[in-house]
Each structure stands twice: as C-alpha cells, then as structure tokens.
Symmetry: D4
Subunit: 242 residues, 8 copies
C-alpha cells in the first residue's frame, strides 16, 4: 500500500499517446485537428526538448514540427543533437522538417524592434502550420508614414497578425486601413503602468476598428496557429512559395 502518486495514469496506455514518462505526446492530434502537437519548452530540460522534438518529427515525418520558448541552453542542445533543425534565437524556437505545402499568406506586423521576439515566434508558427509569411516590422503609430507606406501589402494577405506593446494602438490603425481578418498580440514591452502588457491587452480588446480579435500577452504562437488556419482555408487550391 502506498499513498504516494505513482506514474500510472489510468490503466493501459491511451491510444494516440506516446508516453515518455515526463510527458505524453498527443500523437493523434494531427488527425483530429489537422495540426500536430508542439513542444512548449518552458520548464523542460534541454534533453527533454531534444527528445520530444525528435519523437514528434519521427511521428510526423511529412510535417514540420515545432518547439517554442526555448532557453539558450535548449537552443544549443537542439543545434548539437539535431543538425537539420532550424533554430531562431530571436523567437526562441526550433523547427524540424517542413510543411508539405504552404497555402495563403499571413502578414506579421510588429510595432517596434522590442516586439521582435513575439513577432518572430508568430511568424515561425505560421510557417510550421502551413502558410506563407510577409514580415513587416518597426511600423509603430508614432510615425504613421511607415504603416501607410505598406498598406498595399497589408491588403493583399489572407490574415494579419499585429504585434505591439506599450499602448497597443497599432491594431486599431491597421484595422481601419484594410478589411483583412486581424489578430492582435499584446506584448509585455513597457514599464510602469503598462503592467506587463495589460495596457496593450486592454487597448486591443477595446479597439474601435471592427474585426479585431486578441490573444494572450506575448502569445505569438497562438496567433500564428489561428492565422495559419485562416490563411490555409482562404487558399485551398493553390501551392505557392514566398
């Protein structure tokens, strides 16, 4: 008899689950939702990240697989153990394999250079989830000519991801320029009464431009998944390359 928790969850192994002891990969998710599971790196050791990424890749050899929120140590471990992996130190992601086809295009728009990590995570996610990316940065509202000069590019894509910290005004401005579906991502960039991104989050939720939706603070990954799904549906037939 013991009252201490053992590692046996139910009884036998669950179907569609790959049990690594410290984690269970949902190998069935690709079939259920059309997208494979992703390695969320926060709180995991470099060794675990490598093994999880490798396992996901072996399970889905025809798809791109993704790891996010990687520490510098985890990035180095992936680079050493998986030479084919593409590691992005800005967005703190690693990818292995490539999407079988890219359909539709998502523009990832960032207000300032400080928003780059979140924007990069979003852009990499869009690619892994099967859509092309048009990356536009440093177009904050304090210099309107910058965003106005790319209006045509904004209007040409299938979905917009707009990343901003501080007062979070960029989505409202972009949402007034074009009628493309727009996902706003508040970032924790700022200080004092920005409250770690709350100011930007509230601004985006209250946008006066219709058709703006919002994800959690710094959640570039979530915005990327959503936008890629929208873009893929908007271009179901074609195969194009950026």
């Amino acid at each position: 008899m013991t009252h201490l928790p053992d590692s046996s969850p139910g009884g036998g192994p669950l179907p569609g689950v790959h049990d690594l002891g410290y984690a269970r990969l949902d190998t069935d998710r690709l079939e259920r939702t059309g997208d494979a599971e992703v390695v969320y790196g926060a709180g995991k050791t470099p060794e675990q990240v490598v093994e999880l990424l490798k396992t996901l890749h072996e399970t889905h050899p025809g798809n791109a697989v993704l790891a996010t929120r990687l520490s510098e140590e985890a990035q180095a471990a992936v680079t050493a153990a998986l030479p084919d992996a593409v590691v992005d130190p800005v967005g703190r992601t690693a990818t292995l394999g490539s999407a079988p086809v890219l359909r539709g295009t998502v523009a990832v728009v960032a207000a300032g250079t400080s928003d780059a990590p979140v924007a990069a995570e979003a852009a990499t996610t869009v690619g892994v989830f099967g859509a092309n990316v048009d990356f536009i940065t440093d177009v904050g509202v304090a210099g309107l000519h910058r965003i106005m000069s790319v209006r045509e590019r904004l209007a040409a894509v299938d979905c917009l991801i707009v990343v901003a910290g501080m007062e979070g005004a960029l989505p409202s401005v972009v949402g007034g320029l074009v009628g493309v579906p727009l996902v706003a991502v508040p970032t924790s960039v700022g200080y004092g009464a920005s409250f770690g991104g709350v100011a930007a989050l509230l601004a985006m939720l209250n946008s006066c431009a219709p058709g703006v939706t919002v994800v959690n603070i710094d959640n570039g990954f979530g915005a990327g998944v959503f936008a890629a799904r929208v873009a893929r549906r908007a271009a179901p037939a074609e195969v194009k390359s950026q």
Copy 2:
C-alpha cells in the same frame, strides 16, 4: 470669434462623409474595407437610429445594413418607421436589406440560454457581413454530451464563434475537438467573482487549446465581423457581386 465649440469640424465637408449634425456616416468605408459602416445604437435617440439606418440603406442599397445595441424604444421606432427592417429583440439589432451573397458558414455556439443576446448579435452580424450561420445553443460544459453530439457540425464550418459567461470554459473544449479557427466571446453573465465577465475573459485568453482568439466582453458584433470575413475568404469560388 468665440471660444465655444461650434459644429464645424474642419472647414469644408470631408469626402466620403455624410454629415447628419449629430453624427457623420463614413460612407466610404465599404470601399476601403469591404464592409459598410454600422449604427451603434447605445446613447442614440430612436429618431437618430431610424434616420441613420435609413441613410445607410439609401447609400448602400445593394447591401444589408445593421444597427446594434438598440433600446426597446429604438426597436419600436425602427419597426414603425421602416417596415422592411428585421428587428431582433433578443440580440437587440435591426437590419435593412440583405447581403448580396452569402459565402462560407460560421457556427455561433452559446454555452447557456443567458448568453443568447450576445450570440444573437453575433449571428445577425455574420449574416449582414455576408456569411451563413449555423446556430447552436445550450451546450455548456457541465453536460459534455451536448457539445460532443454536435462535433460534426462544428468541424464542417469555416469559422467558429463560441459565446460563454461564468467560467468561460466552452472555447477550450471546442478548440480541442476541431481545428477550425475559433473566436471566443466572453459574456457578462455571472455574479460575484465573475466581475462582469472578467473571469470568462481571462479564461479564454488563457485557453490551453491553440488557435483561440478573443474579443471584448459581450462583443458579439466584433466577433461576427471577424468571423464573417474569415468565412467569406474560405469560400471564394461562389458568385459574388460585392
């Protein structure tokens, strides 16, 4: 010379603006973003609502035009003055005319009967903005068999709007069942520590299901605009005149 505010905004009339004195209609918006302006009824008199709706209709005779957040008085005034208008007392909306073509389908899913007004506003907006609606209600998470039984309908649409108050758990459950883009709408239904919808809003922003985006509390209109745009793009092959 006087220091008191006069009603002259700049100098001459702005192009693409219809000035009614108490409001200026942005008659140019349809061309700029693909969607006409909408009458936000809160804080307006019944007479103003009627005149604005009528003016919008005359400006865009080939489109549906919409008024939201109408008081009971405003609904009655619209019914009396504009016999062709369709007034929905649940969603507190009025529409005049119809969309030239409906492309794609949005499922509007509501957790409980108390969420009906927000869900109805969302559904009406989707129709005005040019997409079909599949309306599913009373499928809250406290009785999972209800949402499980409509899984096929959820998977078949182009975009999902999921409306819930209280703990706001429904979007996470739906987002785990299907891979369709999902817009979550928190409602102010609840009491005590629901804080007028904040509990549901936070839950939705923190959804463990990837691909969930969120709009402001009770903002069925915003969700409807966004989802209709996604759905229209997902079905580009149908005939359109817009």
Copy 3:
C-alpha cells in the same frame, strides 16, 4: 455643550474667503494663481449653482466665470436666473462674463461623437481660462485620413487636447504627427474591458509618442485649465489686462 459639528471653521472669517454656509468661495485664488475659482456642479442644488455662479461673477466682473458638471435642472435654473449666462447642454457647463483677452490657441481634438461632452467641457474651459479654441472632432484612428487631413491645423496651435475613449489610441497618433505639447483625456466611453475608461487611461500613459501627458478620466476641465495656461504663455506679446 454639544459634540455635534457647528459651522464655525476656525474662529473669525478667513481672508479671501466668501462664506455661503454650504460652501466657501476662494475669492483670493485669482490673485494667487492667475485664475478664478470654478463652480463644480456635481452634488449641488440648482439654487446653489445659481448663487455660486452669481457671486463669482460679482467678485470677478472683469473675468469669465465657469460652472461645470451641471444637471439638466441646474442648467435650466441658470438659464432662468442668469439671462447673460451661456449654457452648453453638451458639455454641461455654464459661463458668465468673458475672458478679458484670449492669447494663444488650443486645439481640442475628439476621436468620436461619443466623446463630445468631455471635449466640449474642455473647450469651454479653455475659453474661460483665456485662450482661443480650434475644435476638431470625429477623427478617430479607425479612419486615418481624417486626422491626417488636419495635420496643418494641429501643428499651428500652442497646445493640443486630445480626447478619446475605448482604446485611447488617438493621442499616440497625433503625438507622432506634430511636436506641439499634448494633453490626453481618456473618456469613459466603451463597455466590457474598457472598465469605465481605464483602458484608455492606461493606453495614454503608455503612449509611444514622447511629450504626451494625461489627466483623469473624463476630466475635460483639468485639461482645459492646463492647456490654456500653456497657450497663454506661448503668446505673451498680445495685449492683456489681467
């Protein structure tokens, strides 16, 4: 003996104070700060508003005097009792007399028609406190061409008051267009996660445009006092009698 409060504050009357029983007018403030005291109408009866405004006018016959936050009843009482008063039902203010001279100009810029009451209070205050007003409204960020078309007017004034609710993005946009000192006024316009103006307040405090300062939610009066003082100093060469 009684322990109940009596109305005698210290002992004899304070110098520079006009005691009306229910209120004490600081008749010395004009000399101390250059501006007369103002009647804050909230919580006062119509009769009190009339008497206070009349007394202020008699004390400062060469200046404009102001009452703010007037109920409809108080506005009617002022109109009836003080035929020379100018009552503004939008801004809920009443003025009596006029400023001896107007120096400099303040542009009062409002994002939407719902922000009109706060903008009107600000504009009236500017005039009473001795500066000219250029009133610009309905130039929200969801239609950028509107604010861009008045850039020259914005650049020509001595101080800017920018009024906005919802996401409060307009001050950041205006602050990036011109280098004029800018006072931002958040309004309580909005719903849900606008939290009665908190979203706009936070956005303005976190503006990425340098040189933006902020006042309390709906505080058009405070912005007007500040901006008039700035404008008066910026135009010292005109004739003044103050």
Copy 4:
C-alpha cells in the same frame, strides 16, 4: 529595562505547545481537530525542518507526519538525517510514519504535466491525513477523450481534487460528469493574463457545475486535508488498502 522584544510569549509555557525557540509546535491539535500539525517548510532552514519533523514524529508515533514546500536543501537534509522519511521531489514533501488506517478514497486529477507538483502535494497530504489516493494526470480539456475515458474511476471515489492552471476549465467538466464532492485547485501555471493563477482561480469560483469548491492558488495541501476529511467520513467502518 529594554524595549526590545524578548522571546517570552506570555509567562509560563502554554499547555499543548512544544517550544523550539524558533517555532512552537501545537502538539494538542491532533486531539482537538483529529489531525496533527504539519511543518510548513517555506522560510525554514534545513536543520529546522529536520528537527520539527523529528519532534512531530516523536510526539505522534502512531501517525504519519508531514513537511511541505521543502527546498532541495531541506529535502537532502531530511533524507540524510531521517532515513525512514519518504521524500517526494516533485511535490516537495517529506513524510515520516504512516497513517494508522486509510479510509475512503480521493481521486487527485491533474490537467497537465505542469500541474504535477501541486497534484503531488495534494496526493501526499491525502495519504498522511488518512485516505487512499487514485492519481489521474494529463487529462486536460483540450483532449476530452482523456477525461471521458476515466469517468468510472471519477464516479467511484468519495471526494475529487481537480488541479488545473491556465483557464482552469477541468473542474467544470468533471463536475458535470459525476456528482462526487469536488475541490478545485488553481495552479500558477501560465503566463501573461493568467496573472499567476488568478485566471484559473476566477474560472473555478464561477464554475457552472454545482458542487465545486475552491482553495488558494497552488494550495495542494489545503485541498488534501479537506478531501481526506470528507473521504474518511464517507467510509467510517471499513479498513481498506489501495
């Protein structure tokens, strides 16, 4: 004379108190409430934890005694000094001795692997406080088949502890499946607008499933005490072993 605090609390020693200088053990609590005192390890040195655990064990030789929130140093010190102690590095607990009898069963259900530490603390506490544990993990709402597949196990126990971070939806889902008393434990797992567990806490307080109660964020210990008391009462006569 001295104004500095001395260590004498009242006068003579309090009955039922074991004074160690840096702490006073309430040795009377077992008799008063049916459960012995527990060592809360946060802020205590490894030496203090060892001495307190040893003293508790000597005072209550026929019961299990527990230390929680142990640092790695304290865990190592307990292992070295008390070979009979069972140390759980995941839940950060140490136990010494065993409960004289286990009555009833508590299911400890965790949404994700990140919730494991809190779930482990809860499970260990349940055992120390005299009930059996059925441990079920990795059954978050984003993959409903996981929680549905264990419905029978959930219905069979005397009390449920459901642990979840992020949007905290799992208790609502479980509460709708079975009528067993349910204690929800929000965890601080998440980022951005999870606000260190507040999002999950609010969701659980607003659960649409009746019969859900909540404890503080990360408070696996409190949930364990409560649930064990419920389970023990539900099976007063039998003696069973898991």
Copy 5:
C-alpha cells in the same frame, strides 16, 4: 435560408432534455449526478419560474425541486400558482416536494444578520439536496463567546457551511475549533474596500486553518449542494430510496 438565429439547436430533440422554448431542462441530470436540475431565477419572468418549477416537480415527483434568486414578483407568482410550494422570502427560494430521505447534517453558520439571505439559501439547498440542517447565526468574531458556546454543535455535524461578509474571519476561527470539513461562503455585505465581497473572499482563500474551501461570493446554493453531498456520504447506513 436565413442568417437570423432560429430556435432549433441541432436537429431533433436531445435525449434527456425538456424543451420549453425559452429554456431546456436537463431532465437527465438526476440520473447522471444524483441531483436534479435547479431553476436559477435571475433574469427569468415570474411565469417562467412557475412553469419551470412545475415541470421539474412533475419530472421528479419523488424529490424536492428548487428555485433560487427569486424576485418578489416571482415569489408571489409561485405562491399563487403552486400552493404546495414553500417560499422563503429571506433566502429568496421556493421548494416543491421534499427529499425522500435526509442523511447526515450540515451546520450553516452565519456571522451576522446581514448574511442571513445567503445563509438561508444555503440551508434550503442543503435540505433539498437531502441533508439535515443545523442553523446557527449571529456568531461573528467580534464577540468570540458566541461561537465558542456552540463548539459542540459544530463538532457534531458532517459538514460546515460558514457564511461571512466584511473581513470574512469566521471560517478561520471555526476551522481552528473543529476538524469537520468546512465550506466558506463570502458575502457581499460591507462597503468601501470590501469591494462587494472580494475582501471576504480573499480572506477565506488565505485562511490559516487547514481544510477550508471556498465558493463564489453570495453563492449559498453552491455551498449547499457541496455540503449536502458530503453529509449524505458521511451517513450511508440510513435507509434511502434515491
């Protein structure tokens, strides 16, 4: 085809659902969780409350059925239409029928007379859900002799519900006196920095007495359901027909 919401949820009627148009009664819940559905009166018309209560009673003739949060109008309507109903104006509830058997006892303890409505709702719910009630009120912590004098009654029951507003200290005091499972209910009684019950809620979540769980502010119903379930399990030997 129409985009406006119709009332048809899925297709055919759901099993175990009684559809009244404006609401769907989950007639299957009794079998699934052991407890029948309840009429939540907030936002419903008196006529709807009467019909729902009547329908529930007809569906479950051998059980007690309950309606909560009834307006004065709804209470009067129930009294007029359903002479057998027991209406409690303090707790704003109505019950029809009676529980087939009462097992175990719950003590409902209220700090002050202002907490009576929430305590009454809890007590009525306990009875409807099948347990006996011991009602103890006006035993706030500012006069400790009151709670101390009923210690034996507190120790004798199977579950405790402790209701308090303001600083919410009573659950900590009671939780230190006895080892009975304790559900704390914060009430919105208070003013200023009580923030509508938040002060009491936080105090209860942070109780230094182990074994205290908490429900939402003013949620006497939820506490009653939970406590009745605990009490029923604690007295399994009595005869039951459920």
Copy 6:
C-alpha cells in the same frame, strides 16, 4: 423536522443578548469593551431603527446611544418617534442621551465640503463615545494657508481625524505639521480613476508622514470610535465641557 432555517440560534437565549427577532443587541458590550453597541442603519427599516435605538437607550440610560447610515425615511421616523433624539441629516446619524462625561478632544479635519457627511459621522461618533470635538473643514491642500492657519488648534488636541477624498493628501500634510496621533479617513468623493475612494485610501496608506493610520473608505464611525478611545485615555482625570 424541517430543513428550513428557524430563528432559534443555539438553544436557550444567550446571556447579554437582547433578541428582537430581526436582530440581537449585544447588551453586554459596554461592560466588555467600555462602549455600547451601535445601530448600523443600512438595510434596516425605519421601524427597526426606531425600536433598536429605543431599546439601546433603555438598556444604557446613562450613556449616549447612536444610530448611523440612516436613510431620510429613518431619520424622519426617529424624529417623530423619539423627540429627544438629535438627528443630523448631514452625517445621517441619530443620537439619544448623552455621554456621562467628555474627556479629551479630537479634532475632525475635512479637506472639502463634499467630505462633510463622513466628517460629521466621525464627529458625532466621537461625542457619543465620550470625547470633545474640534471641527475644522474646508482646509484642502490646494490652498495651504487654510491648514497652516489652524496649526495651533491641530497641535492642541489629543487625536486627529483627517477626512479627504480625491488624492487624499491632507493627512500627509497635517502629519508633518504636528506629532498628534492621526487617523486618516478616505472618502469616496471623486470620479474616474478615484475608483470610489481607492486612490485616497492608497495615498493615505503610503503617507510619508509617520504616525498615520487609516480606516475603510467613508468609515467616519470607525475613526470616531478609535479617536475617542485615544482621547479619553489621554485625559483620564479631568471633566470638561466643550
């Protein structure tokens, strides 16, 4: 047997309690703490207020008894039924009888005329609880000469109550002028980001002047009880009259 709450609290009547059915007067409190119980009028009918005040007066004929937070209806009822009562419409209090002796003096200092109701409640409470009052009002920090001119009066008393809304700065200024114990009372006067008195409350809690303590928003009664106790102790031997 019934599960509905009955009015019997424990068994027999509690000693030192006068049970009126809808409330129980703690007639023993005077002996225990030196001060009689008080009628808190919020939520009570005018008839209840009259009866409670009358009963308290009969129980403590040699003391002053107090009712607070009285509606206009309750004030009128007290005036009609109890001719000897002193009703203060500003502070919304009623007193009956008088304190046997007044010892020490409390200065009640209010920043503005809007703070008068809270200041009056505090002043009346001080008198009922046995100390003299020096009432000083309209000395807000925007005109420092006002508070400076009464510095001697502030220094002469035994305890200070300083009442202020808006930014709540007056206690810091007064606390720097004199070394008298100071109780600060934030009021809910203000708008926007005053958040119903929270701004003033936080300012007072963070006062840079040492020796400032704070009570709840608008809690003039609590400040009065505390200050009277301090003043009475500071002048234990003398009998004086204001």
Copy 7:
C-alpha cells in the same frame, strides 16, 4: 551654463537641515513633532547608514535614534562602527541611545512566527519613541485558546499593535475582546491569492470590530510611531520602566 542638475537645492542651507550630500537630515523634526527623524535603510549603503545614525545620535544625544530596513551588510557595518548600537537581526533595526523616559505600554501582538520581523520592527520603534512594550506572539486565530489566555494582558495596555498575514483575522478577534485602541499591521506573509499582503490589508480595513485602524503592509515602523504616541499621552505623568 549647464542644464544638468547640480546639487544646490535652493540657495543657502535650509535652517534645521543637516546636509550630508546624499541626504538631508531634518534636525528640526524633534522640536516640531516631538520625535526625531529616523534612518530608512532601504537603498542606502552601509557607510551611509552608519554616518546617518551617528549624526542623528550626535544631534539628539538625549534621545534614542533608530535605523530601519537594514541589510545584513548594513547591520554588520553598524555593529563594527558603533559598538553602543543595539542591532536586531530579526526586525532589521539598529538603535543608538535610549529614550529619556518610557511612558505607557503598547502590546505588540503577532499571529505567527512568520510575522516576527514586522512585529520586531514595531516593538523596537515603540521603545525608541518612548513607550514600554509587551510582546506577545504566535497567537493566531486557528488556535483561539492562545489569544484568549492573554486577554488580561491585552486589556491592561494603552494601545495595541496586532500583526498578521494571510487572512488577517487576528485584529477582528482582539478588537472584540477589549476596548483598547488597536492598530492593525498586515504582513506580506502568504502566497497565491494573498497578493503580497493585500488579502490581510483588505480584511483589516473591513474589520467588524469597531476601533481598528490600519497601516501599510509590513509597516511595523509606522504602527510603532503611532502607538507610542497614543501610549505616551495615556500616561503623561508617570515614569516607569519595564
């Protein structure tokens, strides 16, 4: 010409100020308020703390002088440089000299051992500011017999300081036992929804016991100053020693 800040504040030295370059000691405060200035150690170097304490001591040789919030380094520096100083590592204070006379007594009551640092700071401050201390600790509400057993000591003092974290219930309990003026000090002890002491702060502000005032979280110093002032006034004639 330079626009950079120089260190000259006004012109000549201010009277009653001892300028050390990095700080200015208000050497006049003793005369103005009856208490000398204090060294707030946070953010100061060990050398600065030593010099400031030494200077204060030289300025006020007949009084005790105090330094608070000292780092371990600062405590060591004081011990090394000022052998006569009394350093308290628990309360993180240092004192030099002694109060000329101690008048009255303050009881410092702490709920748990974790509250010791704040209680010690309060107790030391009381002594420095001229009153005797009765120190009572580990009397939290979860074991009521502890606080009940010292009721006589609580009733015998001139002022109470009650220190508690977590749910902050102790001041309400103590305030109901005796009529002595009571200053409550919330501490940051706790986790999760204690929000760094906010839960305790709110509980204390909402205490149902009249005559409770509150200071900032962890502000033992402020409570000590206030309570000493109260105690000194309550015993103006005598000279006693603890």
Copy 8:
C-alpha cells in the same frame, strides 16, 4: 523558400531612416516634430548604445542627443568610447553635444532623495530638448516649510515637473501655490500598497489642484520632453543661460 522572418522590412530603404540592422533610427523626426530621436537604452547592448548615440550625433551635429535608461555597463562603454559625452550615473543618461539655444525654464521638483533618479532623467531631458532647468529636491509634504520657502522660484518658471513617490501629494500642494503648468511624475518609490507607483499615480490623476497633468510611473523622460516644449514656446525670442 523560407517561412522564417528575414530582416527586410518592406522592400527598399525607407526615406529618413538609418538602418543599423538591430534598429532603425528615425533621422527625419527632428524635422517633423522639432526634436531628434532618442536612444532608449533598456534592452540594448553597450555596443549598440554607443553606436546609436554616435550615429545620432553625426546626423544632428548641431543638437544635443540623448540616451536614457543606461545600465552601468552601457555608461562605462559610452564614457570609454565617446569622451565628449556627459554621463549622469544618477539619472542613468548620456548626452552628446548641446542644444543650440536654451529658451524658457523648467523647474524640476522632487519630493525625496529616493526620487532623484527620475528627477535627474527629467532634468537632463529638459536640457537636451532646449530649455533651462531649475532643480529643487527634498521638499516633500511632510515638512511643508521646505516647499513654501521656494514658492517664488516655482512661480518664476515656465513649466513645472513635480516628481514624487509614496502618496504622491506634492503636485497637489505645488499646484495650489502657483498657476504655472505642472507635469506630475509618479515614481515607483515605496512598498506594500504603493504597488510600484500606482498609489502615487492615482493620487496625481485625482489632484484637487486644477492644471495638473500626469505621465507614466518613473517616466522622467516623457515629462522632460513635454515641459521643454512648453517652456520653449513660452520664451520664443530670447536666448538665456542659467
């Protein structure tokens, strides 16, 4: 083909932009707003700070250029690489070159020595942006004689910057003394319920003195830009030196 973000923002280089790879300097801002861009040092490497400052200086040889929020490492790197730079370790700024002319004067007023870093940042910014500075510190409201003694200096300037933490009362006091435009800067100095500067921020937003505007917590830079613009306009013709 790659879906990863590349560094090409739009297509060709934007006019008025100097692209350094990791940042793009807005070299056009001086012409557009009258003030050059500034290097915000937070999150930048020392090397980047040096290069950015050097590039700004070369672009605007006739102006002063500024870097703010510099780490100690960045300060050292600037000192080593740019001997002509003036580095201020208190305000954590570096300046290179000097303003061509200083017009008007800004008084920077700080409540306490802990507010010095924010005040220094503000003062340096004022100079870089072309106005003279009168620096006044250590004039907190707890010793009013200090601020009263500099009233003439306060009245003589063109704009006031008032910096304060804790309760943030100084701007209200200063705003009542003179009629000069006043920008208040809350600082994060404080602990407990100061919430990192929120208490001071709220106090300043609610100031009872008219004509007070506020910037973000610790935002000395923003206040400096604003105040310099006001001061320059107030003295357009003259050239003066402090």
